[in-house]
């Protein structure tokens, strides 16, 4: 597994908001160590049995948390993220969708300067099945196992994970890196982490149209990654110039096509699937462990 495990202690920023509260409940039900929440002005209250604090600094020093997951509204995320970073969080997971990208750019630059890792924004979070779920992923779909997943999409991750789990292929860790054009952790860092992770045998990379991150990931894999990688790119039928839901999913100026990305992966020796279920088949072929259903 990478990034998180059963000992990871987490605080929730925006814990008393609608999204924050309901997903805190779900994360706790999954067994995630949510040890505190932060909502300015609600310090001293408690929700779902965990204490609420006014500031991240307070929450961290009272609980020993090292990770924060952010559910605050888009225009407050730069502030909330900076608070988590400056309070010393090692990992900040930003679930919120709709953050103006200039804010995201500032947040990510700040995190880099301080050595904090950011997952997201506009992402479903991440999960180490059976140990720790951070974000909004449906835990029931995931099972422990040898497949490491990196994905720009939420529900598409669930689709592939469901297929894997149904086929008896569990996951080491699944990381939804988010659908925005500017984001925290990218393919290279996570590919490296999975490559170094003894629990991961196969890496699944789920990309989509827009940008050139997949082309760069393909080159990176060719140079650095020794484990088998299965890639899938969504948006093979997307028209150019149109934003396909995600802020980052747009083919513009001839760049960012699924064709180009799939070609890059093929050229790098990566197994390329054309549907989510083909991913499962490709993973099966790579897996050393016997498939247990």
């Amino acid at each position: 597994m990478i990034l998180i495990d059963k000992n990871t202690k987490i605080i929730v920023q925006g814990v008393t908001g609608k999204m924050g509260a309901s997903h805190t409940k779900r994360m706790l039900e999954y067994g995630t160590k949510i040890v505190g929440g932060v909502t300015p002005g609600k310090g001293g209250e408690s929700i779902h049995g965990i204490p609420v604090f006014d500031t991240v600094a307070e929450a961290m020093s009272a609980t020993g948390a090292t990770v924060s997951v952010i559910f605050v509204p888009p225009y407050l995320c730069l502030d909330a993220g900076a608070e988590a970073i400056d309070a010393g969080c090692e990992l900040v997971v930003v679930i919120t969708e709709g953050i103006p990208p200039q804010d995201t750019a500032k947040l990510i630059a700040h995190a880099k300067a301080k050595g904090t890792r950011v997952v997201g924004p506009n992402c479903p979070g991440l999960i180490t099945p059976g140990q720790c779920l951070i974000g909004i992923l449906p835990g029931v779909i995931f099972k422990p196992g040898p497949v490491g997943m990196i994905s720009r999409s939420g529900t598409l991750t669930y689709e592939v994970a469901l297929g894997l789990t149904d086929a008896g292929l569990g996951q080491s860790t699944c990381v939804g890196i988010g659908g925005d054009p500017i984001k925290g952790l990218g393919y290279a860092e996570l590919l490296t982490a999975f490559n170094d992770d003894p629990a991961t045998e196969v890496i699944v990379l789920i990309g989509e149209i827009g940008g050139t991150a997949e082309e760069e990931a393909a080159a990176f894999i060719k140079e650095n990654i020794r484990k088998p990688v299965v890639a899938y790119i969504a948006g093979q039928t997307a028209p150019p110039g149109k934003r396909m839901g995600h802020a980052g999913a747009i083919i513009s100026g001839g760049k960012g096509t699924a064709e180009s990305k799939m070609k890059a992966f093929k050229d790098a020796g990566v197994s390329v699937a054309t549907t989510p279920l083909e991913v499962v088949d490709a993973v099966k072929k790579c897996c050393k462990q016997p498939v247990t259903k």
Partner: protein
């Protein structure tokens, strides 16, 4: 949100970037009130690119020709996008043309200047593109580095750098995705002038950019009417030319579903991401707007509930079926509360298909068949 050229230029002028003295008209006879002399340039105000090639820019040598051209241009549609108005400007004295823009660079994760010593071109196809990233707080020296890389010196060096500094300022202050001057013109008198401009406001930032409050409705002309309505309702709809209407939750899943439809022999009629956590009302709106497309044969609904509660989707489906009992549909509904949803839909005449590929294949089969196979 794309702005019209005349709006972009008003913003440029407000930030001190010199633009042509332009007047916007919506009727040919308004040309009579224009006080600057002929020849004049008449430019269609449209939200799509390629205006020049499409005949959207004309020159008039006198009022008579002007009125005739204006009438013609006001009626022009470019790539399906209606001309909103005309921008009338005196013909500029051009010595040189450049390209200058600020946008966000995905790879570097920061704003970036893009410049080219060629102007009036499509930047993607230009070979002389200069980029200068702005990794931290902007300082004017970065604009000077750009002016230097573009090969300027002397008074023009300072004028280009000054223009780039102002362009950056408005890019940042107005939360833009793109601030572009194309071409940036150097006149015979060595003045620097924004001859055409494009501004894309970041959609997510409109809520905090008060000057743009209420602008969205007037700026949807680069979309179909239905796409525009969906956008105002907070949904992402992209229409295509197929016959299978697609509604999913999540952008990636929607794209993957489109891809599967194509792979299994069908033709997607649209992309519609109903978003995470959509309630019954929003889902019903999604169903209705897709259903309005006269080209569709079948609606494929693929919901994998993470945030989205399947029972909310089922509620919308029950409602929709009441109004449109004969609409062919393939429904895949899996995740939170899926059993409740199945129970709710038991009497709807819809069969639920658990497997995603089976659902897609069912939709394709229905679209290609003359009888509604998906309805029991």
């Amino acid at each position: 949100m794309n702005l019209y050229e005349y709006e972009a230029k008003r913003i440029f002028a407000e930030y001190g970037i010199t633009t042509s003295p332009g007047v916007r008209i919506t009727k040919p006879e308004e040309l009579r009130k224009i006080h600057f002399g002929y020849p004049l340039t008449l430019k269609c105000q449209v939200l799509v690119g390629g205006r020049g090639k499409a005949g959207g820019i004309k020159f008039a040598k006198d009022l008579k020709e002007g009125e005739s051209l204006a009438a013609q241009l006001l009626a022009l549609e470019i790539k399906g996008c209606k001309t909103e108005s005309l921008l009338i400007e005196p013909k500029a004295s051009i010595k040189r043309e450049l390209y200058l823009a600020v946008t966000l660079d995905r790879g570097r994760g920061c704003p970036i200047f893009i410049g080219s010593a060629e102007g009036g071109i499509e930047i993607e196809s230009s070979e002389n593109v200069i980029t200068v990233p702005v990794p931290g707080k902007f300082q004017p020296y970065i604009a000077r580095d750009l002016a230097k890389k573009l090969g300027f010196s002397g008074a023009l060096f300072n004028k280009i750098a000054d223009c780039a500094t102002k362009l950056y300022k408005l890019f940042e202050e107005l939360d833009l995705d793109l601030a572009e001057i194309n071409p940036l013109v150097i006149t015979e008198g060595d003045d620097v002038l924004a001859l055409d401009g494009k501004i894309i406001v970041n959609d997510d930032a409109i809520g905090r950019q008060k000057r743009f409050t209420g602008w969205q409705e007037k700026h949807l002309t680069d979309m179909s009417v239905r796409e525009g309505r969906a956008k105002l309702a907070g949904l992402n709809l992209v229409e295509l030319d197929g016959n299978i209407g697609i509604i999913c939750n999540g952008a990636g899943l929607t794209m993957a579903t489109m891809d599967m439809v194509k792979k299994f022999g069908g033709r997607p009629a649209n992309f519609l991401d109903a978003g995470g956590g959509s309630d019954a009302e929003k889902t019903l709106f999604a169903l209705e707007i897709v259903n309005e497309n006269p080209d569709i044969e079948v609606i494929l609904l693929n919901i994998l509930g993470g945030i989205t509660a399947c029972d909310e989707v089922a509620k919308a489906l029950v409602e929709f079926r009441k109004k449109h009992p004969n609409r062919k549909m393939s429904v895949r509904l899996r995740g939170n509360n899926q059993d409740v949803a199945a129970k709710m839909l038991a009497d709807s005449g819809l069969k639920l298909i658990a497997d995603v590929e089976a659902a897609v294949k069912d939709a394709v089969a229905q679209a290609n068949s003359k009888t509604p196979v998906g309805v029991k």
